[in-house]
Amino acid sequence: MKPPNNAWNGLKDWLYKNYGEHPGKMFLHTGTVAWIFSALGQLTAIVFNDKISSDQKAFLIPQELSDAAINILSFYIVTSSVTKLASKLVSTGKVTTKPIREYLEKCGLKDKIGKLDFNIPNALGDKFSEIKKDHYKPFKNGVDIAASTAGSVLSCNIITPLIRNSYAADRQQYVLAQKRRQNQQNMYAPGSLDDYQKLAAM
């Protein structure tokens, strides 16, 4: 089985170059796409579940829609913010390891460590390769992954359910009030002249 063409090789190279060095970004992007697909599946589950009454669906469908919108947005915003912050902490040396710090000090960069405009790979230039493989990258990848996991837990399991429940409950009240109004109107509005005559004769 041979790879079909250049597009296949291009896709593999593109994924390797864009995500191989940036696992935090990969967690964020694949997570966002996964939530979109998951929301579509869950919405279908409610719509076609006969055991859920229409009144409950009036709550659960908006709950699911708001869940999806809030989940996707909060996942992306919170997770990317937490991951970027963690990444910045490591790249500036604010959070670093002993071997990295010692190497930076050896290179005469002690005063710059931890400053906002300091960037370890840029500051070291060609010398960066000496700490990249064994120290900097494994540590930074770990921090990025831990941060994106923490960000996703915070956004999906705490922020989203709190916001979506509030929104869905308001929405349910609105839909039920509309239904009641509709029923009352149907009760008092005869559909034909016959209906009207029957009502008048009562």
């Binding site: 579940n49 604010k94 906002l116 831990a146 709190l162």
Partner: protein, 181 residues
């Protein structure tokens, strides 16, 4: 243009630099913490990430739904049951499919080997034993899992969530009826 301008303005502001630079923490983390983060980078793939997300979801979301006083008891029961069902179904299928796809990519992305063993190996990669290559394998595996989940979300997740929701609601109602007898 406008957004990047605002971002640059914020980034270059003296106040931000002062705040950032005044935050303590310029000392290095200990060897143990260093090892923990390096281990995390090796062990946690998007599959494990999904498992962590599911486990923590079970510990928080049903309780948040159960305390939602804005809806009636009946709706609250269905909502809690559905949340638990959704977490179980989503986590199980999400974890297994991601794990399977990542394993498949790892098996078939051997650099320099012939045939199917190198099916997922990118031409620009020289060596397979690097962190970047492992992350690439995780990425490709997750991408394949996402495509698979476009179907399994409808074929497995949704019906399983429906089945479990009904099961939990029936159990709850059955349990309540028995206690009220």
């Amino acid at each position: 243009m406008a957004v990047s301008g605002i971002k640059n303005k914020i980034y270059n502001s003296n106040t931000l630099h002062k705040i950032w630079n005044s935050v303590p923490g310029n000392s290095a983390v200990g060897e143990k913490t260093d090892k923990i983060f390096k281990k995390i980078a090796k062990v946690i793939t998007p599959a494990e990430n999904r498992l962590i997300l599911g486990a923590t979801a079970l510990m928080s979301q049903p309780f948040i739904d159960a305390r939602n006083k804005k809806v009636d008891q009946e709706t609250r029961t269905v909502s809690v049951a559905r949340t638990i069902a959704k977490i179980i179904a989503g986590t199980t299928t999400g974890f297994l499919i991601r794990r399977g796809a990542i394993s498949a990519v790892k098996n078939w992305s051997k650099v320099g080997e012939p045939g199917i063993k190198a099916l997922f190996a990118p031409p620009s990669a020289n060596r397979a034993a690097t962190d970047a290559y492992e992350q690439y394998q995780n990425t490709f595996g997750t991408a394949i899992a996402l495509v698979a989940m476009m179907f399994t979300n409808f074929l497995i997740d949704a019906p399983l969530t429906k089945f479990l929701t009904n099961l939990f609601v029936d159990k709850y109602k059955g349990g309540n009826n028995e206690t009220s007898k």
